[in-house]
C-alpha cells in the first residue's frame, strides 16, 4: 500500500461480528475499523472478548455471524492462510521461537530464501538477519540460538519477524509487553513508530492503560463481548478509560482514600492463621507482608506478572522465596513441598487445572481422594467403602455432573473438572485455602456455585486467599483485596471501600 494517498480507506473493518459458544457469548455485534498508519489499542477486562476478536482477525476461529472487510473485499471468515496472504501478522503473549534454531533461522522460518536448486542460501539469511537486527537496534547475534535468548528478546525477535520479514500490513500485538524488559519495551515503541510511518496498521492489545495512552492513536474498549466505544486516545484520560473498561462510575466522593492496614486489622477479631513477613523472590515479588485471619477471604488482585500466582505457589511449597518469613499459627515455617504444605493445613488449587490439577485419564473417585487418601487407610489397606461414600458425598455437595464416580475425568466439562479439583482440596479439610483463579474458563452457573462454595463452606473455620481473572469475582466474595503491581503490594481495600474502577486503577500502579 502506497503511503499517503489512500489513508482514509480502512485496511480492515469488522462489521457486527459475533461469536457464540454453547453457553457463552464471547463476542456480540462488535465493530472495529483499522486505518493505515494507526496504532489501534484494544482494551478490556479478562473475558471481555479481546482474544476472541484477535482470533477472528487472524483466522484461528470463524465468527458465528458478521462480516470481515479486508482492503474492500468481503469475507465471512478467514483461514489462517488467508489471513497471512492478506498481510495479517500476529505476535502472541507467549513467545514461540524454535529453541534449537539460530536467530536468523527463526526469523526466516518457514520462507527461507533459496537458490534455484531449492538449496537454502545461508550466507544470505545470516547477512539479512544481521542487517535487520542492526536496523532495529536489538543487541543479539544473528547466530545465537533461540534457547539462548531471554523471554524478552524472544518476544522482540518475533515482533521483528512480523514487521520486517513477513512484512505484514496489519500486525496484531497481543499483550507483548507482558514479557518485555524495560529496555526492549523502548525498542518496541521505536519500532512501532517507524512502522506507523510506513502506513502499516497495528492492533495493540494490553491490560495497561498507561501503554494505551503512550503508544496508541485510537482505542476500542470491549466489555462483556461488545465494543463499547472507539475513541481518539488524546480525548480520554486514564480515569475515563478505567470507567469505560469496568462500566462503573467513580463515586462522587472519590477523594477519600480507603484507610488501609490499621483499620483492617482492628476489624478482625478472628485469630491470625497465616502471616507473611517481607517475603521476597527476586524477579517475582518483593517485600510481601500480610495477615490472613480465620473466616476471612482475601483477594490478591493484579495483572499478569504482578506476582499473585507466584505468591500462592510459594505458600503452597511449589516455589521457594529468597528471603522473608511465613508464620503459621505463631511459628515461622519453611514450606518445602506441597506435601509439607498439606501437612500444615495449606491446600492449593492450581491455576491450570488440566496441567497441574487433575489426572485426567483416571477416574473422578481417584482424583477426589488423591490428597486425602492416607486418612482412608484401614491398617495397611484402603477402606474402599469409606472412600466411595466420601466420594459420593463430595459429588453431591459440589453437584458434580458425572454418570458415575468411575468416569474418567477427561470426559467431564470444564466446570465439572474444576469442581473435582475443589473437591480434592476440600476433602483434606485444610485450614488455609489458596485458590489460584478458581473461576477461570468455566461457565457462569458453575462460577456462581463455586464462588458460593468459597463464601460459605470453604471459609468455615479457615482462611481463603483467592485470585481471579475478573475483579468482579473478587469483589463478590472477598472481605479484603490486596492489590499487587509489579511484584509489590501497592494498595489494600476493605469490603466497604470496594469499587471496581478504583481497584482497577490500583492494579495499574496508579493512585485511585
Amino acid at each position: 500500500m502506497k503511503a499517503g494517498n489512500k489513508s482514509n480507506n480502512p485496511l480492515l473493518r469488522l462489521e457486527r461480528v459475533s461469536k457464540l459458544y454453547p453457553g457463552t457469548i464471547a463476542l456480540y455485534n462488535s465493530c472495529l475499523e483499522l486505518l493505515p498508519g494507526e496504532v489501534h489499542g484494544v482494551i478490556g477486562k479478562n473475558g471481555a472478548g479481546k482474544s476472541t476478536l484477535v482470533k477472528i482477525i487472524s483466522g484461528i476461529i470463524p465468527p458465528t455471524s458478521g462480516l470481515i472487510l479486508l482492503q474492500g473485499e468481503e469475507h465471512r471468515a478467514l483461514t489462517p492462510m488467508e489471513a497471512r496472504q492478506h498481510g495479517i501478522g500476529i505476535v502472541t503473549q507467549e513467545p514461540q521461537v524454535i529453541p534449537d534454531f539460530s536467530v536468523a533461522e527463526n526469523l526466516f522460518t518457514p520462507a527461507y530464501p533459496c537458490n534455484r536448486w531449492k538449496s537454502i542460501r545461508w550466507s544470505q539469511i545470516n547477512a539479512r538477519a544481521a542487517e535487520i537486527l542492526r536496523q532495529t537496534g536489538i543487541d543479539i547475534s544473528a547466530r545465537a540460538k533461540g534457547s539462548d535468548l531471554t523471554i524478552s528478546e524472544q518476544q522482540l525477535l518475533l515482533v521483528t519477524k512480523a514487521f520486517y520479514v513477513d512484512n505484514a500490513q496489519i500486525i496484531i500485538l497481543d499483550e507483548v509487553t507482558a514479557s518485555l524488559s524495560e529496555k526492549d519495551e523502548r525498542l518496541l515503541y521505536e519500532m512501532i513508530s517507524r512502522e506507523k510511518a510506513k502506513q502499516k496498521a497495528i492492533i495493540y492489545i494490553t491490560h495497561r492503560m498507561a501503554e494505551i495512552v503512550k503508544v496508541c492513536d485510537r482505542v476500542t474498549v470491549l466489555r462483556d463481548g461488545q465494543t463499547i466505544v472507539t475513541e481518539q486516545v488524546s480525548r480520554l484520560n486514564e480515569r475515563e478509560l478505567s470507567q469505560l473498561i469496568t462500566g462503573q462510575e467513580f463515586p462522587r466522593d472519590s477523594q477519600k482514600m480507603p484507610e488501609s492496614k490499621a483499620s483492617a486489622a482492628s476489624e478482625q477479631r478472628e485469630p491470625v492463621l497465616l502471616s507473611v513477613e517481607r517475603l521476597t523472590k527476586a524477579g517475582n515479588y518483593y517485600d510481601i507482608s500480610f495477615d490472613l485471619h480465620r473466616n476471612e477471604i482475601v483477594g490478591l488482585a493484579g495483572l499478569r506478572g504482578s506476582g499473585r500466582t507466584e505468591i500462592l505457589k510459594t505458600l503452597s511449597g511449589i516455589l521457594h522465596a529468597d528471603t522473608g518469613k511465613v508464620i503459621l499459627a505463631g511459628k515461622a515455617r519453611g514450606i518445602g513441598s506441597p506435601a509439607e504444605a498439606l501437612k500444615q493445613g495449606i491446600a492449593y488449587l492450581p491455576e491450570d487445572r488440566d496441567r497441574e490439577g487433575l489426572i485426567e485419564k483416571l477416574s473422578v473417585r481417584f482424583n477426589l481422594s488423591l490428597s486425602s487418601i492416607a486418612s482412608l487407610r484401614k491398617g495397611l489397606f484402603l477402606d474402599k467403602k469409606a472412600e466411595l461414600s466420601r466420594t459420593k458425598g463430595l459429588v453431591n455437595l459440589l453437584s458434580i455432573e458425572t454418570p458415575s464416580t468411575e468416569e474418567e475425568v477427561h470426559y467431564l466439562s470444564g466446570g465439572n473438572k474444576q469442581k473435582v479439583v475443589v473437591g480434592r482440596i476440600i476433602s483434606r479439610k485444610p485450614k488455609i485455602f489458596l485458590l489460584d483463579e478458581p473461576t477461570k474458563g468455566i461457565d457462569i452457573g458453575t462460577k456462581a456455585s463455586i464462588l458460593e462454595m468459597v463464601r460459605t463452606k470453604l471459609r468455615e473455620n479457615a482462611g481463603v486467599l483467592i485470585t481471579s481473572p475478573g475483579l468482579e469475582d473478587l469483589i463478590a466474595v472477598c472481605d479484603r483485596i490486596i492489590v499487587l503491581h509489579e511484584g509489590r503490594i501497592v494498595n489494600e481495600f476493605l469490603k466497604r471501600d470496594f469499587d471496581e474502577s478504583r481497584v482497577y486503577l490500583a492494579m495499574q500502579g496508579m493512585r485511585p
Partner: protein, 339 residues
C-alpha cells in the same frame, strides 16, 4: 451408568482375557494337544520368567518411565550372587541367604536407576539403556563360562514341582501377581504410583512425593528382574551370561497388551498377567504347530502386532461407549424438557 454400559466397559477393560480365551479356543481346535493338562502347565511354566519382567516393566510404565535394564539384571543378579557363593567367598554362602542376596542385588540396580533418573534427571530410556549394556557386559566378563551346580535350595523355585506336577515357579508367579494386584488396587502407595504417571505435576501438587514413587517403581522392577533371574537359573541349574537376552522388547509388548500405556498412569496387575500369558501362549502354539524355525520369530512379531492393533481398537470402542452414554443423556434431558 446403566447396566449395559457397565457390561460393555467390563468387557472392554478385560479384553486381553477375551483374546486369551479366543486364542485358546482356536488353538484347541487346530492342535488338540494344546488342551492337554501338561501343555497348559507347560505354558504357565514357560511364561513365569517373562511374566516377572512384564510385571516389572508394567509397574515402571505406570509411573511414566521405561526400564530397559531388566533383561540384563535378570542375568547380573544371580551371576553376582552365585559368584560370591561359589568362587569369591571361600566358605561359600548360606543358600537361603544367596536367594535373598539375588533379590537385593536386583533391588540395588533398581535403586541406582531410580536415583539417576529422579535426582540427576536423566531420561529413563537413555539411562536404563546404558545400564542394559553395562550389566550385560559385566556379566559376560565375570561369567565367561556358565556357573554349574547351584545347589537344590537355590534351584528350588525355578525347577521344583508340587503335587499335580505344578511347578513352584507358577505358584510363585501367581502369588507375586496377587500381591502386586493388592498393592496397586488397595493401598495408597498403588494410587500414588498411578497418579505419578498419570500427571506428575498434578500428583506433586496434590502432595505426593512423585520422585520417590519413581524410585520405588524401579526398585520393584529390579527386584522382579532378579526373581526372574532366580527362576531362569533354577530351571537350568546354571547361570550363564546370555540369560534374558532379547526379552526386554517382549516385556513392552506384554505390558501394553495388558493395558499399560507408554505415557503412564494406566495398568492393572490382572491385565499385565493377561498380557504376559498371551505372549507365552503365542510362543507355545507356534512351537506346537511346528512352524518353520526361520519364520517363527516373524510370526511371533505379527501376532503381537495384531494384538496391539486390537488394543487400539479397544481404546476407541471405550471412548465410543462413553460418547453414546452422553448422547443418550442429552436425549433424555431434551425429552424431559419437552414434557
Amino acid at each position: 451408568m446403566n447396566r449395559r454400559m457397565r457390561v460393555e466397559l467390563f468387557f472392554l477393560d478385560n479384553l486381553i482375557w477375551a483374546i486369551i480365551v479366543l486364542f485358546f479356543g482356536i488353538n484347541a481346535f487346530f492342535t488338540p494337544s494344546f488342551l492337554k493338562y501338561e501343555n497348559i502347565v507347560n505354558i504357565l511354566y514357560h511364561s513365569s520368567i517373562l511374566s516377572m519382567l512384564v510385571l516389572g516393566q508394567g509397574i515402571v510404565l505406570i509411573t511414566g518411565n521405561i526400564d530397559l535394564s531388566i533383561e540384563s539384571t535378570l542375568a547380573f543378579a544371580p551371576a553376582i550372587a552365585m559368584l560370591l557363593a561359589t568362587k569369591w567367598i571361600a566358605a561359600g554362602l548360606n543358600p537361603y541367604f544367596s536367594i535373598i542376596l539375588t533379590v537385593l542385588i536386583g533391588a540395588c540396580v533398581g535403586l541406582a536407576n531410580g536415583f539417576f533418573i529422579t535426582r540427576i534427571g536423566i531420561n529413563s530410556f537413555i539411562h536404563t539403556l546404558s545400564l542394559l549394556i553395562i550389566l550385560r557386559g559385566l556379566t559376560l566378563y565375570l561369567v565367561p563360562f556358565a556357573i554349574f551346580k547351584l545347589g537344590p535350595v537355590y534351584t528350588f523355585l525355578g525347577s521344583a514341582r508340587m503335587a499335580g506336577k505344578i511347578p513352584v515357579a507358577v505358584l510363585l508367579m501367581f502369588f507375586i501377581f496377587f500381591i502386586m494386584a493388592v498393592i496397586l488396587k488397595n493401598t495408597p502407595f498403588g494410587r500414588y504410583l498411578l497418579a505419578t504417571g498419570g500427571n506428575p505435576i498434578a500428583g506433586f501438587i496434590s502432595g505426593i512425593n512423585t520422585k520417590r514413587m519413581v524410585v520405588f517403581a524401579f526398585i520393584i522392577s529390579g527386584s522382579l528382574a532378579a526373581v526372574a533371574g532366580l527362576l531362569a537359573a533354577g530351571r537350568q541349574d546354571a547361570v550363564n551370561n546370555s540369560m534374558g537376552k532379547d526379552m526386554v522388547l517382549f516385556t513392552f509388548a506384554g505390558a501394553i497388551l495388558g493395558g499399560c500405556s507408554l505415557s503412564g498412569g494406566k495398568g492393572t496387575a490382572l491385565g499385565i498377567l493377561g498380557g504376559a500369558l498371551l505372549l507365552g501362549m503365542i510362543n507355545n502354539s507356534l512351537t506346537l504347530i511346528g512352524i518353520n524355525v526361520f519364520i517363527l520369530y516373524a510370526t511371533y512379531g505379527l501376532l503381537i502386532f495384531i494384538a496391539v492393533i486390537l488394543d487400539r481398537i479397544r481404546v476407541k470402542l471405550r471412548e465410543l461407549v462413553f460418547y453414546q452414554e452422553n448422547i443418550r443423556k442429552l436425549r433424555s434431558k431434551a425429552n424431559a424438557a419437552r414434557l
